[in-house]
C-alpha cells in the first residue's frame, strides 16, 4: 500500500530530508533553543543579525519529528536575509500557513516549535557575540554554545 498523505507530501519531506541551513550559523549573534517536552522535539535557531537589522544568516539544528524539522527548514529559508522587524511580525498563523498541510492541534505544536524558537532568538543576543567584522569564532566556543 503506497503511503499517500497530505501531511507527508513531497514538499514537506524534501525539507525534512534535505533541510535548508541545518547546522551552526557562522558568526551567530543571536540564538535560542526551545523544546516540546510532550514529544521531546528540540529546535535551536541561530542568527547572524547585521547592525542594520538584517538577518544575514539563519540556521537551525535539532531533533524531532518530520513536522518539527521540516517546518524549521521552511521557516529558516523564509527568514534568511530578511529584516528582523519583518520576522518579529511573522505570526504563528503565518507559520501554519507557510507549512501548508492541515494539522491537528497536537501536531500544530510540532509545527510551531521552530517559530517559537525564532521569535525568542531575535530577542536573545549571544553573550560573546562577535562583531560582524571579526574573524570566525573558535569552533570550540560554538560547540560549547551548541
Amino acid at each position: 500500500m503506497p503511503i499517500e498523505d497530505e501531511l507527508y507530501q513531497e514538499r514537506i519531506l524534501d525539507h525534512y530530508e534535505e533541510p535548508f541551513h541545518r547546522g551552526q550559523c557562522p558568526a551567530a549573534t543571536h540564538a535560542h533553543e526551545d523544546e516540546n517536552p510532550l514529544c521531546g522535539d528540540v529546535v535551536r535557531v541561530e542568527l547572524a543579525i547585521e547592525p542594520d537589522g538584517t538577518i544575514r544568516d539563519a540556521y537551525f539544528s535539532g531533533d524531532g519529528c518530520c513536522i518539527s524539522q521540516a517546518s524549521a527548514s521552511m521557516l529558516i529559508e523564509r527568514v534568511n536575509g530578511k529584516p528582523v522587524e519583518e520576522v518579529k511580525a511573522f505570526s504563528g498563523q503565518d507559520m501554519l500557513q507557510l507549512f501548508g498541510a492541515k494539522l491537528t492541534p497536537n501536531r500544530q505544536k510540532c509545527c510551531l516549535l521552530a517559530w517559537r524558537a525564532l521569535q525568542s532568538a531575535v530577542y536573545s543576543p549571544l553573550p560573546a557575540a562577535p562583531l560582524p567584522a571579526s574573524p570566525r569564532s573558535d569552533p570550540a566556543d560554538e560547540l560549547l554554545r551548541g
Partner: protein
C-alpha cells in the same frame, strides 16, 4: 515465519465481544477504509459487551447512592458495589475485603499513600526509593511528599537492557529508606520486575513496599500476599473496566494506622462541630460518593477475565510479544528498547533510525494501527535510555498474530518511505 500456537480460548469469539474492535477507520468516498488494529492497551484497554451491559443494567435497574438510602435501590446498588470489592479481593489474593479501597485510579491510589502514609511517617533525612523505569504517577507524588516532609527521593538504576539493577539495591536500601515504590511491569519496556525479591530485601532493610501493578494485574496472575507487598495499586480501565475507578490494596494494620486522605461524607463515623471520627475500613478512605458504577463495571470485567483465565491471557500475550520481536527485528533500522521477550510482558517499545516516533504513529494510524508515541509518561526513563521519544505497541488477549504482522509490514513501509534514495529511485 513460524506460526504461534493458538490461544487456549476462541480468539474470534472473544473479539466479537468487543464491538469497537471491528471498527473500520479512515473510509472516504473513494477508499474503503482500514480495519482497526488496537495496539495501545498499555494506555487503556477496550471493553467487552458484558462490561458495557453491566454498566447500563446498573443505571437502568439498580442505581442509587451506596451506604446511605434506606430504600430498595440503595440496597441493590450497595450490594453490587460491595460485591465488586469482593471480586477484586479474590482476583488479587487479598486476605480481607477491608483491604480493598476503591479510588479513581492508580494515580489517586499512589497519591493517597504518599499523602496519608507519607505525611504521617516521613521526616527530614528519610529516603524514598523509586526506580528509573517508573511512570510519572509513581514519581511525582513522592517528589511532592519529599518536598512536604524533607525526605529525599532516590532511584534504583536500570541496566542498559532495561532490567532493574538489583546489584545496586543493597547500597540504596539504607536504614533511612522508609518506602520502596516500584512498578511490577514497566509501562514502556515491559520489563517484569522481581517483586517478591524486592519486597523481601526491602522488608529486611525495614522499608515498606508499594507496587504499581497497573501494567501487571490485567495481564498476569496476582497474589499480593505471595508478593508480600504492603501496598498494591492499579486501575480498572487497563483491564476492561470503565475509567474512573482504581484500587488501593493495603495491609490492614497499615491502613488502620493511616490518617484519612480526603475528608467528606462516607469516611466518617460521626461529625461534630468540634471535629470528626473517621469511619472503619474501607469507608475511611472512600470520601464522597464513590465511583459506584465504574466499580461495578470493574467487577464485571474481572468476571470476564476469570472466564477466559488469566493464565491463558498471559500465555497468548507472551506469544504475541515473541512474534512481535521476531517480525519487527526484520525492519531495517529498528531498535528495541528493553529486555528480550522472555523477561517482558506484552509491551514492545522501539525506536527507528531516522524516523521520529510521532511520524511512525501517525503513519501507522493511516493504516488503522493504533500505537502510542512519545515518552509514555516516563521522561526520566527516556533520558536514561538517551532517546527523546519511542513508539510502543502493547497487546491484550484480544489481539491477533495477523495484527502483529500488519504492524511489521506497516513499519517496513514507513522505513522505506523515509529513505529518500529509495523513494526517488522508484
Amino acid at each position: 515465519m513460524k506460526t504461534a500456537p493458538a490461544p487456549a480460548f476462541d480468539l474470534q469469539r472473544v473479539r466479537s465481544d468487543f464491538p469497537i474492535l471491528s471498527s473500520v477507520l479512515h473510509a472516504t468516498g473513494d477508499r474503503p477504509g482500514v480495519p482497526l488494529a488496537y495496539l495501545d492497551n498499555a494506555a487503556t484497554t477496550q471493553r467487552p459487551r458484558q462490561v458495557i451491559r453491566a454498566i447500563t443494567d446498573t443505571y437502568e435497574q439498580h442505581y442509587a447512592n451506596v451506604h446511605r438510602g434506606i430504600h430498595w435501590l440503595s440496597d441493590q446498588s450497595t450490594d453490587l458495589y460491595e460485591e465488586a470489592r469482593s471480586k477484586v479481593q479474590q482476583f488479587i489474593g487479598a486476605s480481607t475485603r477491608e483491604e480493598i479501597i476503591f479510588t479513581h485510579g492508580t494515580t489517586e491510589s499512589i497519591n493517597l499513600v504518599a499523602r496519608s502514609w507519607g505525611d504521617a511517617n516521613l521526616k527530614a533525612g528519610d529516603e524514598i526509593l523509586l526506580t528509573e523505569l517508573e511512570h510519572h504517577s509513581n514519581i511525582v507524588p513522592w517528589q511532592q511528599a519529599a518536598a512536604r516532609t524533607g525526605a529525599s527521593v532516590r532511584f534504583l538504576p536500570i541496566t542498559d537492557d532495561g532490567l532493574l539493577n538489583l546489584d545496586a539495591l543493597d547500597e540504596l536500601l539504607t536504614p533511612r529508606t522508609r518506602i520502596v515504590a516500584v512498578a511490577a511491569v514497566s509501562n514502556v519496556l515491559g520489563t517484569v520486575n522481581p517483586i517478591e525479591e524486592i519486597v523481601a530485601r526491602a522488608h529486611a532493610a525495614g522499608a515498606l513496599v508499594l507496587v504499581d501493578a497497573a501494567q501487571s494485574v490485567p495481564h498476569q496472575h496476582t497474589d499480593v500476599q505471595a508478593w508480600g507487598a504492603d501496598f498494591v495499586v492499579f486501575s480498572g480501565h487497563k483491564m476492561l473496566g470503565p475509567t474512573g475507578v482504581g484500587v488501593l490494596y493495603g495491609r490492614r494494620e497499615l491502613l488502620e494506622a493511616m490518617p484519612p486522605f480526603l475528608g467528606g461524607g462516607s469516611m466518617i463515623e460521626r461529625v461534630t462541630t468540634a471535629g470528626f471520627e473517621p469511619a472503619e475500613l474501607p469507608a475511611k478512605f472512600e470520601a464522597g460518593t464513590p465511583p459506584i458504577v465504574s466499580a461495578i463495571g470493574l467487577g464485571a470485567a474481572i468476571d470476564y477475565l476469570n472466564q477466559i483465565g488469566i493464565e491463558a491471557i498471559h500465555a497468548h500475550e507472551r506469544q504475541l510479544c515473541e512474534q512481535a520481536h521476531e517480525v519487527l527485528s526484520t525492519v531495517p533500522g529498528l531498535r528495541f528498547l528493553g529486555p528480550p521477550p522472555e523477561r517482558k510482558s506484552g509491551i514492545v517499545s522501539f525506536v527507528m533510525e531516522g524516523v521520529h516516533a510521532h511520524d511512525i504513529a501517525q503513519l501507522l494510524d493511516r493504516q488503522g494501527i493504533a500505537v502510542r508515541a512519545g515518552h509514555h509518561c516516563a521522561m526520566p526513563l527516556h533520558k536514561r535510555l538517551k532517546v527523546n521519544a519511542s513508539t510502543r505497541a502493547s497487546f491484550y488477549f484480544y489481539n491477533t498474530p495477523a495484527e502483529v504482522e500488519r504492524l511489521g509490514t506497516g513499519l517496513a513501509e514507513i522505513k522505506q518511505f523515509f529513505s529518500r534514495k529509495k523513494r526517488t529511485a522508484q
